[in-house]
Symmetry: C2
Subunit: 194 residues, 2 copies
């Protein structure tokens, strides 16, 4: 899992490098990319909520990718700021959460109440994954562990909608994400016990 | 708001002091209280989901209160540990989130889809409120600001269910909590700009 993730990240960094350089040449700032990414992601939510899953998934994927580029742009230009990093990670949470709100509405409209519950669990666990890490870091414990971090969650969501299997996707997402929370809590426990 | 909150906290601390001393005499540890609080809170969720709002609200209130006492017990006994603080705040998130998952199911069963959306927004914003604070603290910025922190959110939820006005409650909660996220992001922006 870890090796796969690192390979994926390296590939993405290489594949998007020309784009990063293009943005950099046009003096686009990382924060502008963050804001644009969030706006595109938010634009996907009414589509998802009303069942336009394909177009919704494409917009959601584009928005998430834009938001993933801002960190790379910041590093490229040595513009990495504390507020930029804070804004970036907060916007990540808002974008992912908004897509899940939209999915909850979609499932509620389709009278899939078990899927509504799974969506809420996936949202809670996704937020907990990030919360546990931030809280651990505020206690001085590094916490980049566990099966599914934000990139995997967003990929699962995007693919599930694109392939029109939102229900399977949401059960898988809820299970994997909850498991990851357990992994992180356990990790913090062990580190702090040392 | 701030003065009201401080007065409430002081009152609660005084009112629960005999209970804290009782627990302490029986060698109850703060972590045991955290776990008990979470179990009681989780026990409320099937009740809430199936519309037993009064009993659900009472159990939810009891669980949240138990979870609020663990910090006081830790201070009383000078048992405050890093992992205890971490566990406590993570359990707070899980308990509050689980009650909102239950409310989402309740609204979905009642075909109140707008309320389902508001529940998801309240959950997202509630998690963001905590996330923004933890993330800010990991950057060295104190972030105990904003109108509604966990105590207020839990009080609003408990009262709304107890008074059988879950829909009004969830719209109020979603609005107030989202506003608080904005307040915190703005606060971090100003602090980091200094």
């Amino acid at each position: 899992m870890e090796a796969l993730r690192r390979a994926g990240k390296a590939w993405l960094e290489k594949a998007t490098h020309p784009l990063i350089a293009w943005f950099d040449a046009r003096r686009v700032t990382p924060n502008q990319l963050s804001v644009t990414g969030l706006i595109v992601t938010l634009a996907s939510t009414p589509l998802i909520a009303t069942g336009w899953l394909t177009t919704g998934a494409i917009l959601f994927g584009l928005g998430s990718l834009t938001d993933a580029l801002d960190g790379a742009l910041a590093r490229h230009h040595a513009q990495a700021s504390k507020f930029g990093a804070f804004l970036d990670s907060t916007f990540d949470r808002i974008g992912e959460g908004a897509a899940l709100v939209a999915l909850a509405v979609y499932f509620a409209n389709a009278d899939r109440n078990a899927a509504v519950a799974a969506t809420a669990v996936a949202m809670l666990s996704g937020n907990l994954t990030s919360y546990v890490r931030a809280r651990a870091e505020s206690l001085g414990v590094n916490c980049e562990v566990g099966w599914v971090s934000r990139t995997e969650r967003v990929t699962i969501m995007g693919l599930g909608m694109l392939l029109h299997v939102p229900e399977y996707m949401i059960y898988l997402l809820a299970a994997l994400t909850s498991f990851t929370v357990g992994q992180r809590v356990w990790h913090v426990h062990r580190r702090l016990a040392e």
